[in-house]
């Protein structure tokens, strides 16, 4: 009933994570100014995914959770990706 074995993230780690996130945000804003054409969407999504992963691992403490929960989170995101891909089997080939 207690949280004894819970990991405590330090304040400094939280700061570091925030700074990394802010840097990534800046990059994604700058990236659109660079006119990368078709790659802009891809880049924006990749950067967003990286940011989301960081939030999940550190802010949401996934790094310190058990393997099962980590697998679940990964699986859920994977499933969603598959659903999108399958939907586009229809739209892409139309």
């Amino acid at each position: 009933m207690k949280n004894h074995d819970d990991h405590i993230t330090s304040y400094s780690l939280n700061w570091t994570v925030l700074i990394v996130l802010l840097i990534l945000t800046t990059i994604s804003i700058l990236a659109i100014k660079m006119h990368l054409g078709a790659y802009t969407v891809a880049l924006a999504l990749i950067l967003a995914s990286v940011k989301v992963t960081i939030v999940l691992t550190y802010f949401m403490h996934l790094k310190f959770e058990n393997l099962l929960l980590r697998l679940m989170v990964g699986g859920v995101f994977l499933l969603f990706a598959i659903v999108i891909v399958i939907t586009f089997i229809d739209y892409y080939f139309r």
Partner: protein, 537 residues
Amino acid sequence: MNDSSTAVPLNFLNHKTGLWSWLSSTDHKRIGLLYLYSITVFFCVAAVLGLLMKIEKFAPGQTIMTAQTYNGMFTIHGIIMIFIVVIPGLAAVFGNILLPIMIGAKDVAFPKLNLFSWYVYITGAFLGLYSQFAHGHVPDTGWTFYVPYSAEATSNVVIALTAAFVLGFASILTGLNFIVTIHRMRAPGMTWFRMPLFPWSLYATAWIQILATPIIGITLLMVIAERTFQIGFFDPKLGGDPVLYQHLFWIYSHPAVYVMILPAMGVVSEIFPTFSQKPIFGYGAIVFSSLAIAFVGYLVWGHHMYTSGMSYQARWAFSLLTFLVAVPSAIKVFNWLSTMYGGSVDLKPPLLYAISFIFLFSIGGFTGLTLGSLATDIQVHNTEFIVAHFHYIIFGGMGFGFFAAIHYWYPKIYGRMYSNRWAYIAWGILFTGFNILYFPMFIMGIQGMPRRYFDYDPKFTLGQEISSIGAFILIIGLIAMISNLVYHRRKGAIAPANPWHGVTLEWQIPSPPPHENFDEVPVITHDPYVFDHPYTK
């Protein structure tokens, strides 16, 4: 839980009395019974609507109702049956009553949430009914709410959509509760692979519930937004895409059909070992096929849209995936047969229902394969063939699974026995009526009789008449079955704790179970289906 001196020992049914003690109880068994009673009532309402439709179709042309009434009727029949009866169905009733007991827990992980989800459910259910009586037209879109019709129809579609949304929320909460319960509340020694198969099937089901239901939730919200704020997600007049709606709808609603059937598969997986006094054959295969059905079942939604103008590539990809999902079902059927093989088989009513489950489910499943195949689906899509397919597989599968479950656990829940004789008679009528009712629809479907048709070409008259007669036979069987159960609830002989010599945990405690299930926490030391265990000898 002591009082062995009193005539009737205290149990979950009588430790407190009064209506309020039920409506406020967080006891999972009582909540399960609340679901059972509400679902039965709604089932009877929707079933009577089904019967009325069959009377209408007894002859071509208008007989007892107008086209508008008929269209409203199959819509509400479908909504009630799908969203209010079979999706919660087994999981909310028998899952609630038995899941904690079968894994050796005192309750589910979040008992208050459990009660709350029943209230959400009831709210949704009454909203659904309200859409029938509220000012305006009855909704007449079919349970699939296809746009643009549902976005334009003048009837109370928004109320019906809201009802479906609320019901989905209840379903999510139940699923969430079950997953956490299974992860966190298993008795000491009950490893994952010592867990009985009914909880396993609920586990797979619960994942579908929490991952698929939100999609329908947001889709219905979008349709509501479309109707009220003219945001045109799906309406082509505003740039929307009607086919996209179908995608979203089936991303949920196909997995939902496995929400219906998986628990029924779990139920029969309990019944076959007990009535053969023999361990389940291929425990691991059954577990993994449940998980496989849940996963692959999530990816085949497009088979409802073969004629919607999807790309050619999408059509065959969905067809291929659909066929893959049939394999785990096949694995289960063969394992069940092998479980009985070599056993000491006792044809009590629960087993009778379980066997008819296999028969009807196979017919439903094989016709599902006919639908999964591209060329043949083009012919029978949206004909009565589909209607027959899903009545066979939902009513014959999930429905008969439900009947099997109630005959199996009835003595455990109420501590009384029903009459076996009447159970056999009712089964006979029910089974005959069922096949007479639905089988002709396969044939008419292939000949081209479309579904959702108020009127039909006179050449189908004979088939429709036979089918309608089947409905009357079926209803007699159903009434007999329900009466048998209701009557013996108070008048039946007192049932022992373990009438069928079952080995899973629920049979090791008194009937009806005490308020907190176990006096002391069971410690599990062996696999779930070991029949030479001292308990049974």
